[in-house]
């Protein structure tokens, strides 16, 4: 029959070793947050590149038909507006450092989640409609010089690609991002609930 003093002596003999340093710990949390920032920045960079590519087509080719100019205007405006919305979202999460202002960061993360959700839903369809309209107008002059079967092939491929992105890629990306942000919010919320001022 053992007494409590014996349990105390067992406890004292069990030496524990902390294997993590404060630097490593902070680095780990910052890494998680930076993952989202990096992705948002890559999105932004992709959109800027698309904008520049369309703009350079417009500048370096001498188009005759008004439909081509109208098409390129619609496309470039759609890309420009979408890029600006993405930039606003990016600013929301890059303005605050979680490790310095956790509450402000958490609030912004929630706003970012709403902004991304809207981006993948209503705004995405407006964007897709504008791109389809722009592409259709653009194709009138550009495809005119090509053979009929090539014209059909280009049109079918372009629209099939848009449908594929809208139906599959959008849903998968939306699901992944929603889960990722929700997990981060849950984690940060759990951390902040214990610190009511």
């Amino acid at each position: 029959m053992q007494e409590f003093e014996h349990l105390q002596s067992i406890w004292d003999t069990h030496k524990v070793e902390v294997k993590i340093s404060s630097d490593e710990m902070l680095k780990q949390v910052k890494k998680e947050v930076n993952g989202i920032k990096r992705k948002s920045l890559l999105n932004l960079a992709g959109m800027v590149l698309s904008f520049l590519a369309v703009a350079s087509i417009w500048i370096f080719y001498d188009f005759q038909s008004w439909t081509t100019h109208a098409g390129l205007t619609v496309i470039i405006t759609a890309i420009g507006v979408y890029t600006f919305i993405l930039y606003q979202g990016h600013r929301l999460i890059s303005n605050n450092d979680f490790t310095v202002h956790p509450k402000a960061f958490l609030d912004n993360l929630k706003l970012y989640q709403i902004s991304r959700f809207s981006l993948y839903n209503k705004l995405y369809w407006i964007y897709t409609f504008a791109l389809s309209l722009g592409t259709t107008l653009y194709f009138f002059e550009v495809l005119d010089r090509l053979e009929v079967w090539v014209q059909y092939a280009v049109v079918i491929f372009s629209f099939a690609w848009m449908v594929f992105c809208s139906a599959l890629v959008r849903k998968v990306a939306m699901k992944r991002e929603r889960e990722r942000i929700a997990l981060l919010i849950e984690k940060f919320e759990r951390l902040s609930t214990q610190f009511k001022d």
């Binding site: 029959m1 053992q2 007494e3 409590f4 349990l7 105390q8 067992i10 406890w11 003999t13 069990h14 524990v16 902390v18 294997k19 993590i20 340093s21 404060s22 710990m25 902070l26 780990q28 949390v29 490790t99 310095v100 956790p102 849950e186 759990r190 951390l191 609930t193 214990q194 610190f195 001022d197």
Partner: protein, 165 residues
């Protein structure tokens, strides 16, 4: 920022071992204890500016750790406590010794206590003054003494039961 980093490192070096032991006592395994330790010190870092010296800094950190432990198992759908502790005991078979067996039995017995009791007894075993434990757990010192007496008895009983098996 540099000053804050320095202060944090100093606090971490002074308190991390005791907090890790508390988390170890609560979860019964090193990996979960490590997660809890990280979460605790992350909060310490974020809220260092809010600390107003009303209590000892160690008391403040213990309170954060206790809250972290209590919310950890509830919010995360983790393995049941018993399973965890059994795993630890199985893992330790390789390095069998009487001392290791006693340590494993002690952790197993602690895991059979209620969540709050588990944390209180861990602090008692870490020899924290009763006044500090009372402040951390939010119980009056008088009530705490009675509670600790009961937990000690219960833990000893559980240990002896397991030791006989």
């Amino acid at each position: 920022m540099e000053q804050k980093d320095q202060l944090f490192k100093q606090i971490f070096d002074t308190n991390s071992k005791k907090i890790f032991h508390l988390c170890y006592g609560y979860t019964g395994d090193a990996d979960s204890a490590n997660d809890l330790l990280q979460e605790t010190f992350l909060k310490v870092w974020q809220n260092l500016d809010k600390f107003r010296n009303k209590s000892l800094i160690s008391t403040w950190i213990y309170r954060i750790a206790v809250n972290t432990c209590l919310t950890y198992l509830r919010s995360e759908k983790r393995q049941a406590k018993d399973e965890l502790t059994d795993n630890i005991i199985e893992n330790r078979v390789e390095e069998y010794s009487e001392k290791n067996e006693q340590v494993a039995l002690l952790y197993k017995s602690i895991s059979k206590l209620d969540e709050n009791d588990r944390l209180i007894i861990t602090m008692v075993l870490d020899e924290l003054p009763y006044s500090e434990i009372a402040e951390i757990s939010g119980i009056s010192e008088g009530n705490l003494r009675v509670k600790i007496h009961r937990i000690k008895q219960r833990l000893t009983e559980l240990y002896n039961q397991h030791a006989r098996i």
